[in-house]
Symmetry: C2
Subunit: 347 residues, 2 copies
Amino acid sequence: MAKVMVIGAGPAGLRAAESLARFGLDVLLVEQAPYLGGALARHRYGGLMPYFDSGPQVLKAMTAVVTDHARVTVCTESQVGRVESTDGGFQVELMGQTATEEHVQAVILATGFTHFDPRRDAKYGYGLFPDVITGAELEEQMAAGPVHRVSNGAIPESVAFIYCVGSRDRQVGNTYCSRVCCAVSTKQGIELRQQLPQARIVMFYMDVRTYGLWEDQLYWRAQEEAGIVYVKGRVAEITQHDGRPLLKGEDTLIRGPFEWEFDLVVLATGMEPAAGTAALAAKFGVEREPHGFLRQAKPMVSAAITNRPGVFVAGAASGPKTVEDSVMEGDVAAMAVLEHLGVKATP
Amino acid sequence: MAKVMVIGAGPAGLRAAESLARFGLDVLLVEQAPYLGGALARHRYGGLMPYFDSGPQVLKAMTAVVTDHARVTVCTESQVGRVESTDGGFQVELMGQTATEEHVQAVILATGFTHFDPRRDAKYGYGLFPDVITGAELEEQMAAGPVHRVSNGAIPESVAFIYCVGSRDRQVGNTYCSRVCCAVSTKQGIELRQQLPQARIVMFYMDVRTYGLWEDQLYWRAQEEAGIVYVKGRVAEITQHDGRPLLKGEDTLIRGPFEWEFDLVVLATGMEPAAGTAALAAKFGVEREPHGFLRQAKPMVSAAITNRPGVFVAGAASGPKTVEDSVMEGDVAAMAVLEHLGVKATP
């Protein structure tokens, strides 16, 4: 039976591996980290949008299927070296604890994303002021215990979220929207309200993009049940005053400037292609779109098709995605592989 | 080989049928309309977001694969009658020109959506004022020839788009966001600019939800290249003045009321579950979510899984979707069917 290499073991890669293996194909699942689960594992997401599924449980279910499956060989702490085209596929050098050569008939690139590093946008004071953290760091705090100010360990009485950090921003080079941060921040606000019944929680946004069924599930609920305040406005600068972050900006609805202190500030950092995406794309001859994500060549036929026959894409490698969307694309990529290989069902 | 019934021949159903048939399964594709293609055919979409693919070409490619495939039996002008569970699947009465009984091992519900009927929200004057049209009617105008005022056939010198008609609106009973209308309207604005180089084109919005890679591809391009104006504001009422629609509302950014005449007004109507969704759900024992769409029971595993084993969902039947998302879900549903049936690949 054909052998397929899936590169990246986040939700998209895990689902692709599972679907191919279930079908009877052999799968080599390659992951550079020492663990499976991608960003879900890396940041220990507690609750997942939009239905507050338990992140650890989803992660456990996703990984168990793959690690238990006889047809899936998991190679963690492994990276792709040299790639060569062959008659029936690709010869891929795999560099882990030892170097091996693998011959596979098709490849799925599911290399995911990394969060924008807010140190690249000095106005937020990230790295300088301890109580300015990222959304991923907030998830890690919530997973580990009560949310607290990093500066002194105190429980915050006021929390600000700043949307579109590293997204929709020509100055930092990312003109796209990261698609999930509005909803993730809203979800975090609702979770935070459980821990902090009295705190002031304010969202600073450009547009609230809780699209589709997230609208009432998250956005309305945040306002009507959790008492979260949404302010349309751009934060121009964060400084520090009496040991607390001070936000300066303009409220575009009341058309006036504001200066507002908070105990804790959460930056909703956007998604960028994972480090190494460009190099991997070059090795496999796959084109990238203008923002550096892998280009979907025929999205009206299959989201998984790239310009290179035999090489497919799934998940956030082709642009910002939710966990659910990444799981979907895992299946779509598996289906595209089956089509490419001309696999038929046993009668 | 197993036989699968796919109900609904829009992008999701067409793709599901294609992927299952390619694999060797027999597919019965059931469609109540006399044509294939769903909303894509019904409204003759000219250009598709976000890359302005030709709607007719996409439609032709999607339908050709299915109509040419020996394993797909297409039943147009057909509806589902009585449904009974059997040992290995479902016994379904099919009512077309004649009534037949079909036995299938699995079912995919891909029944899509209908647009919100703006007659249900009297403030827009739709049906009363001829120059207030829907986005779908604008597509039909663009497909047929130059865009014109319905009242007198004149080329419009000013066009207003009103977002969120029938969406995000508790008063009309639809609290969800329809997910695509911001981007579809923006795409239409860009297309309109080609035809109307001098016209004033204004978008009235709540939030501009051109999420992900649509942001610069559509929203920035509309503003920077096509000179389209975006006004954050709710239109409270449309009346008519000197034979032209008169919009009254409040600009929430400048915090002032406006009265503004336009030659043509386009209502970006949202998506609702297709007529008959409730009845079909009841026949198959499939649950609906609070807005009446079919409920995805395990979106973190597969978008296609419903509460009922053997019955799957794809496309806008489970909530507002783009064409691309619907095509993806066609593959996801096909994969879920293969899993459900325990289909394996031939070695």
